[in-house]
């Protein structure tokens, strides 16, 4: 099996190289058969890599410890699901998964465009296969997952116990779907530059791809946060760790891109900027893959120190140079068709949105990259703490919420005083009222108060839009409220899907504000029968337990939780001691979103820290995380909203072209 996989990788590399060459030659010689052959090569690469991945999975399932990669990431007792997930548990396997996903995307693009975009396609195929060639080269010569051991190992090391968690099966693939998905709009952008087709074609045809990549990056980031929260046991979900930052940066620039392309579609502005944004996003996504996979930063995420560094750096510089040179070459043909007339206009709101996203991305980039460069160039190790990130990103984020409320409602070109009053008087009053209520309830944290006010403002703008639209449908079509609301949303899915995503983001902001501004923690060293309290909760240490299985010893404690005197839940935080690795792991117990009944107000997060066998004392740590559940709930709303936004326009089948044009203008008008 391993030989088969090895052979497939080699053949995939040859096919990819052929595909790049034939696409290029086919374009130069205007030879459509050669172009076609390049496209067929893309399908072949996907098939070959599919077989290679399957054969590696088979090797994992059959405990084939003659392969170094299998021996490092699996063992005989590992559950089957983690044997499969071990495919991306290490460096070479995850690079193979990366290029496999890319090749599947390339194959889909090729099949979708058999008859469309024929001028762009050689560039698209060539770019996608060019990227594949790099990764396949790395797999072949630098980090091969099918590398045999000199002598087969009797037993494998096994996947790190911290990784043996259901999120291991879904978090990395989600991020990869996103990282890799950026390659498709990037390839279309490069193809547009190469072919000189600089209208909106490359943007409109990749709209769903962009949203797809953006969606999976975002969902991957959220899953990572949730995983850290429930697994790592420090009470938080985000630590500005380099690997977290690496996934956030392309998400930020991609979000900016998704917004600013609307301005290009509607007004013919920001053409160069959009190209720059997608180039930046792709570079950041390669950078993210590199950081995660190379161990360049010592962080809890890094896998291993490796020889990938110089190769990735070369690849990265090549991409930047090629893209930027192409862009400069085409600059004379990228004239803007309009310009901003007033600071108070939707155009300028979109511009501020972009400036803010870029400023946030730059802050994250600087804080992530400076320590690497400092060590690499000066040999001085430095670190930067979360407080610095928060100091900058909180105010920029608050400004962003404000723009989220203003952007979708303010008039195009130049907003009149009347327009401003009509659209914003209500939401401003509502925001101020929410602020006053929070103040009366005792919120004195300035940034948190401001955040709640702005979140309320945004929600009010969206509610007002929905209400006005529904009311006019009720009046004109004589529909009831719910029918009116549904048909309103379905008639302009892109616009209202976008609003739903905004609602989800506001919920996430509320959760972040509550859990970071008002977190409490307490440590207690108590004996059975004693209790301790945090906020409104009181926890009675009722019982202890211990158990063993073939891998680990488990120590647990039972806490009976009361809130304001009422019993609400029983929590059982645990400590695992894995015999093989001698490593303890903390299993937290949470009274929160997934308790019954669900608790949306404030998570109670408990940890069993330690026990003292002689004295019989147990040490517990508890965190109170107000509003944190709203982050995960907001994630679900974002998922829903994105789905609404990408729904096909099945409601209006005739005059398809026309309706999609109306759609485009609808979302921004």
């Amino acid at each position: 099996m391993a030989d088969l996989g090895y052979a497939c990788l080699l053949m995939a590399l040859l096919c990819a190289v052929w595909g790049v060459l034939s696409s290029w030659l086919g374009h130069q010689m205007r030879h459509s058969e050669l172009v076609r052959s390049g496209e067929n090569a893309a399908v072949a690469v996907a098939t070959l890599l599919g077989v290679a991945c399957l054969s590696l999975i088979t090797a994992f399932l059959r405990n084939d410890f003659s392969l170094l990669y299998v021996a490092q990431n699996s063992n005989t007792t590992q559950p089957a699901i983690y044997k499969i997930a071990a495919l991306w548990g290490g460096q070479s396997g995850s690079l193979m998964l990366w290029v496999f996903i890319l090749s599947v995307y390339a194959a889909i693009v090729v099949v979708q465009n058999r008859r469309r975009h024929r001028v762009l396609m050689p560039g698209v195929t060539g770019t996608l296969l060019g990227i594949s060639t790099f990764f396949l080269f790395m797999l072949q010569f630098v980090s091969n997952p099918f590398e045999p051991l000199p002598r087969a190992a009797a037993e494998g090391t096994g996947l790190n116990p911290l990784l043996q968690n259901p999120f291991m099966a879904s978090h990395p693939p989600s991020l990869y779907l996103g990282y890799v998905g950026v390659a498709v709009p990037f390839a279309f952008a490069l193809a547009a530059l190469m072919a000189g087709r600089l209208d909106n074609e490359w943007i409109t045809t990749t709209r769903r791809w962009s949203l797809f990549a953006w969606f999976f990056l975002g969902i991957g980031i959220l899953q990572g946060g949730y995983w850290a929260y429930v697994e790592l046991g420090w009470g938080g979900y985000w630590a500005w760790d380099p690997v977290e930052n690496a996934s956030l940066m392309p998400w930020l620039t991609m979000t900016a891109f998704i917004h600013s392309v609307m301005i290009q579609e509607k007004k013919g502005m920001l053409k160069v900027w959009n190209l720059l944004l997608i180039i930046m996003t792709f570079c950041l996504s390669i950078f993210g893959t590199f950081i995660t996979r190379s161990g360049v930063i010592s962080s809890v995420h890094s896998f291993t120190k490796s020889s990938l560094g110089p190769w990735f750096a070369t690849f990265w510089v090549t991409i930047v140079l090629v893209s930027v040179l192409l862009l400069i070459y085409r600059l004379p043909r990228l004239r803007t068709e309009n310009s901003i007339e007033s600071l108070l206009s939707r155009e300028s709101a979109f511009l501020f949105n972009n400036i803010l996203f870029i400023a946030i991305a730059f802050t994250v980039f600087w804080g992530t990259v400076y320590p690497i460069l400092s060590e690499a160039i000066q040999g001085v190790k430095v670190s930067i703490g979360p407080p610095w990130f928060n100091q900058w990103i909180v105010p920029l984020g608050l400004a962003l919420i404000f723009v989220t409320g203003v952007g979708p409602l303010i008039a195009w070109r130049r907003a009149s005083g009347q327009n401003l009053i009509r659209n914003f008087a209500g939401p401003i009053v509502f925001g101020a009222a929410v602020g006053a209520i929070c103040f009366v309830l005792g919120v004195r944290h300035f940034r948190a108060l401001l955040s709640f006010v702005l979140c309320a403002f945004v929600l009010a703008t969206i509610a007002q839009e929905l209400w006005r639209g529904t009311r006019s449908r009720m009046a004109s079509a004589g529909e009831g409220f719910l029918t009116g609301l549904t048909s309103l949303i379905l008639r302009n899915k892109r616009r209202y899907g976008g609003y739903l995503v905004h609602v989800g983001m506001v919920m996430i902001f509320v959760g972040i504000t509550g859990s970071s501004a008002f977190q409490q923690e307490v440590t207690a060293h108590i004996k059975r029968g004693e209790s301790f309290t945090i906020g409104p909760y009181s926890m009675l240490f009722a019982d202890t337990g211990s158990s063993h299985d073939e891998h680990k010893d488990v120590l647990s404690a039972t806490l009976e939780v009361s809130r304001d005197g009422q019993r609400v839940d029983t929590l059982r935080p645990e400590k695992y001691y894995y015999r093989a690795t001698e490593q303890p792991t903390t299993e937290v117990a949470i009274h929160g979103l997934f308790s019954w009944p669900p608790n949306l107000g404030d998570d109670l997060y408990t940890i069993l820290v330690d026990n003292d066998p002689q004295g019989g004392g147990y040490t517990f740590k508890a965190y109170l995380n107000p509003l944190i559940s709203w982050i995960w709930l907001g994630g679900f709303v974002v998922i829903l909203g994105t789905h609404v936004a990408v729904l096909p326009e099945w409601a209006r089948v005739p005059a398809k072209r026309l309706s999609s044009a109306v759609e485009v203008s609808g979302v921004v008008s």
């Binding site: 490092q72 548990g89 090391t157 790190n160 911290l162 990784l163 850290a228 046991g233 420090w234 690997v243 161990g295 360049v296 930063i297 010592s298 962080s299 809890v300 995420h301 890094s302 896998f303 291993t304 120190k305 803007t336 310009s339 901003i340 007339e341 511009l351 400036i355 870029i358 400023a359 730059f362 802050t363 600087w366 804080g367 400076y370 060590e375 001085v380 190790k381 430095v382 670190s383 930067i384 703490g385 407080p387 610095w388 100091q391 900058w392 440590t523 060293h525 690795t581 001698e582 490593q583 303890p584 792991t585 903390t586 820290v609 330690d610 026990n611 004392g617 147990y618 040490t619 740590k621």
Partner: protein, 144 residues
């Protein structure tokens, strides 16, 4: 229209570069330097300010504070060592002879009072690679 555009680009550049300068300036203010145990011992200047020390947890040096939370231990590079007290609960990956980074400063008793502790858990294969490289800095940590 052209002037408008130039004004716009200029304005954008001024805003972004001003912001960028502020960000970079404050960054340099809150940067913390990492030092080896030897550097820390050899430089009295470092001993008076907040800094980070990296090294290994000395064998048989970990003493749990009575009451369960907090530890005392010694961080060492083989030749030099510094006594450390850390008053919070230690992460699961903290163990004797494991890699550790502590942030804090020397207290009046000459003990390094850490307010931040990072522990790393090189797995078996990575450990070999790391010893072969002989470097602490880029050693792979436990994976996620």
């Amino acid at each position: 229209m052209r002037r408008q555009r130039q004004k716009l680009i200029l304005g954008g550049i001024i805003i972004l570069s001003g912001l960028g300068a502020l960000i970079v300036y404050s960054f340099n203010q809150s940067l913390v330097y990492d030092h080896s145990v030897a550097e820390f011992m050899g430089n009295p200047g470092l001993q008076r300010s907040n800094c980070r020390i990296y090294g290994k947890v000395a064998a048989a040096s970990v003493v749990r504070e009575p009451g369960g939370i907090g530890v005392r231990f010694t961080v060492t590079d083989g030749t030099h060592s510094v006594p450390v007290i850390y008053a919070r609960e230690v992460p699961d990956t903290f163990k004797e002879e494991g890699d550790v980074v502590v942030e804090g400063m020397l207290n009046a008793e000459g003990v390094f009072a850490a307010h931040h502790l990072l522990a790393k858990c090189p797995s078996k294969y990575e450990k070999e690679a790391q010893e072969a490289e002989g470097s602490y800095g880029s050693a792979g940590a436990g994976a996620i």
